[in-house]
Symmetry: C2
Subunit: 120 residues, 2 copies
DNA sequence: ATAAAGTATAAAGCATACTATATACTTTGT
DNA sequence: ACAAAGTATATAGTATGCTTTATACTTTAT
């Protein structure tokens, strides 16, 4: 698919997708058969990958963290153990974030009670 | 307590705390009894508030979102219902983020399996 | 008494992550 | 055929959230 379709499928603006591609988060492929243009094709599998990027961003991961993760995940050079280590580290960080969110939620539920009791 | 102590208690750099105070997330009180300086005092209760700010930041909430929440929470003008609505909205957003994190986690657990099977 | 450490304020600087603009070329619809 | 829409690339601009610097004053330790 072309960039516009990718944008529709992922819900991210074209400019943002280009930014991510330039940053090295993913790569479209120019079809060498077609000589009239250099439009890039984006594979179906990229949709899932980009939605992962989007989700990770929305919960506070930086582009560089996300890049590190994806680079390991799809690395041809890295050993299986090294790859797994990187991904597992990120999974642990996710658990930390989930707990942080639960804590913030608990605080806000307390806040609701205080508000109802006119205590603030 | 003074700014340095607040920094120790919250784990945030003094410069960051000053930034947050300037942004309006909280307020220290200058003791008018003391005429020699205008050092600000930070109440014990601020520690919890700032740790909430820190946690919310780390899971992707912006300062303006956090400010909106805190402003409602401690507003003297707002009605109870309006306050509750703002806080409840944020609680819903937290649930969305928790689900996003779980989804990212699921994806990464799949990634581990793929890596083990040499599928990427 | 005085050097070192702490506090306050204002302003500049910086990193990250977009977002917009300008230019040029290609494809598509009529 | 040609206007409108799509794509690519490079560059500049912007918003957010700090972080650093400069300056000045206060407190603390010796």
């Amino acid at each position: 698919m072309l960039i516009k379709e990718l944008s529709k499928r992922t819900g991210l603006p074209i400019a943002t997708l280009r930014h991510y591609e330039n940053y090295g988060l993913f790569k479209g492929t120019s079809n060498d058969q077609v000589e009239t243009n250099n439009y890039k094709n984006y594979d179906e599998s990229l949709v899932e990958k980009i939605i992962l990027i989007k989700g990770a961003k929305e919960v506070g991961f930086s582009l560089s963290e996300i890049k590190e993760l994806l680079d390991s995940w799809f690395s041809k050079q890295m050993t299986v153990d090294r790859k797994k280590a990187v991904v597992n580290k990120k999974i642990e960080e996710i658990d930390v974030k989930i707990n942080q969110l639960k804590q913030v939620k608990t605080t806000l539920i307390e806040a609701i009670k205080d508000i109802e009791n006119g205590e603030c």
